[in-house]
Symmetry: C2
Subunit: 317 residues, 2 copies
């Protein structure tokens, strides 16, 4: 049995003193000019240019954030858009992040039945042993629509390997109500999913948390409050801070009193800080890494000022 995922995660959060999770969202059209120029010196083929640029961009971003935050979340879709070359770049980026001591959550939102689900789990969940999977992630995001029995293969592989999963419960998009908010037996579908996630977390509990986490959007603060209470053993992954409109006050309910229990994700707001106020004027595209660093530090300070994440820096006596 490997070291439990959430135990490793919380060690990393305490070591860095912040629950900031930096998304790695390489969007080709938004890459800094120097990254694109390097890739074009090395390659002619547009696919090779993109894969090479994604790798350099993410590696340099990891160098910026590794001293500051506990974890990163690469978005699989942006890499897959560039085919097998993109998939290889994703594997290299994940490996590099792990080497820098970061927890890596692969955002692949996978889900399938039986042995097919197990194949996805084995592909992405390396957990405590980086060599156990092709994409050496500590955790993977998983879609629950197919049913509880389809989550179990992910849980089984995660348990064996000291890895974790984050099940989509209430997502951050404007239309997440379509099916997630439908009422059934007096409560919403996302609450029914939350109940299954809490049960799976209790079954895999160590030091108060299971290895089964939940994705709950910062864009729905009332639901976040409700879901934190409904899933006391579940580590949360909270997207939607920053570019999607969530603020520190909105994500405050995600945390327990000791500042643990949640990671708050920011992707575009850090990756492409150099394109947005106030960093665009201060740094601009040439100093994109300095912009990303400033945006990361600003987010760390924002969470410390307005949430119990402050406890991670100054634990209550």
């Amino acid at each position: 049995m490997s070291i439990h995922y959430t135990t490793r995660l919380h060690q990393a959060i305490k070591a860095k003193g912040t629950p900031v999770l930096v998304g790695l969202d390489p969007r080709f059209d938004q890459l800094p000019p120097d990254v694109l120029a390097h890739a074009r010196e090395l390659h002619d083929d547009p696919v090779a240019v993109a894969a090479s640029a994604f790798e350099e961009f993410c590696v340099r971003l990891i160098d910026v954030v590794a001293p500051l935050v506990p974890a990163v979340k690469p978005q699989a879709a942006f890499f897959e858009e560039w085919g097998p070359d993109g998939c290889l770049a994703l594997a290299r980026v994940i490996r590099y992040a792990r080497k820098q001591g970061l927890i890596v959550i692969c955002d692949g939102k996978r889900g399938d039945i039986g042995t097919t689900a197990e194949a996805y789990a084995r592909a992405y969940l390396a957990g405590a042993d980086p060599l156990a999977a092709a994409w050496q992630s500590d955790a993977l995001t998983v879609n629950p629509y197919l049913g509880r029995d389809t989550l179990e293969p992910f849980v089984r592989v995660a348990k064996e390997r000291g890895a974790g999963i984050y099940v989509l419960v209430k997502t951050s998009n404007p239309g997440s109500a379509s099916f997630q908010d439908r009422k059934s037996d007096g409560t919403t579908i996302y609450r029914h999913v939350a109940q299954v996630v809490e049960e799976l977390a209790v079954e895999t509990d160590e030091q108060g948390y299971g290895l089964v986490g939940a994705v709950v959007g910062a864009t729905y603060p009332q639901e976040l409050l409700e879901l934190r209470a409904a899933m006391p053993h579940v580590p949360l992954l909270v997207p939607g801070y920053g570019s999607q409109g969530g603020a520190a006050a909105d994500v405050a309910p995600a945390f327990q009193q000791d500042g643990l229990g949640a990671l708050i994700n920011n992707s575009r707001g850090i990756n492409f800080a150099f394109k947005a106020k106030p960093y665009d004027e201060q740094f601009g595209p040439r100093r994109w890494e300095a912009a990303a660093e400033a945006a990361t530090k600003q987010m760390i300070a924002d969470l410390a000022a307005h949430t119990s994440a402050s406890q991670l820096i100054h634990p209550a006596g």
Copy 2:
């Protein structure tokens, strides 16, 4: 505007006179010995062995089924388990299947929000122009849990490219009831998903069918009957025939009177026919292709005998 997906699909179904969809599910532990031996002559690294064996197995299986059936469905998870090499094998297998005139439905069950969903769509949906995507699929399976707004980027890209999507509505696994069968406003969640799928199909209709299809398991024949009626403009993808227990009588409700409107999938029952009765004794592992051919022909005959797919061979005057 490219040629509509379902128009191309129905041309292929009519040309072959059957709605059989052959799943490509390369499971390493079950590969025929000659395929493994070839891969081990060419490679030492276990990942390279697996990727090479998957490619040879699928290519030879495609050679067997291409004269007989209109479409194949590679399961992305089994390829991804072997990392970027597996992803490259998947791309080659898809390309080869297209070259043999087959419609290719990539079973990736993807789903994400906004521009991320669009990245998945651009990665997998080539549609009428094989060079438009890294994995040159005609269609992709998609998970609806995140909400209607997250299906729209897939529909937009599919429409541009003459591709299609199949949205998970009622899946074939034993636990699919967990969330899909929950009652809300007097009906099930899968019926609410079905309503959205039917709306998107009507919006993209050509000759009676939209480019938005639905996955409905053969293991739930009553629900299949109900869903065929609820989604008259939706092409169905029906898994669960054979190994999962569905029989021809169970899938009969999936078809319209003219035998169109559905593909019936069989993966293990064809891929690994050489391991199961009656083909194991008749053919054995050395003649695995003959076993796959016999199993495919048997399924074609079974559907023609017990469903309106018979109309594809002898159209009613």
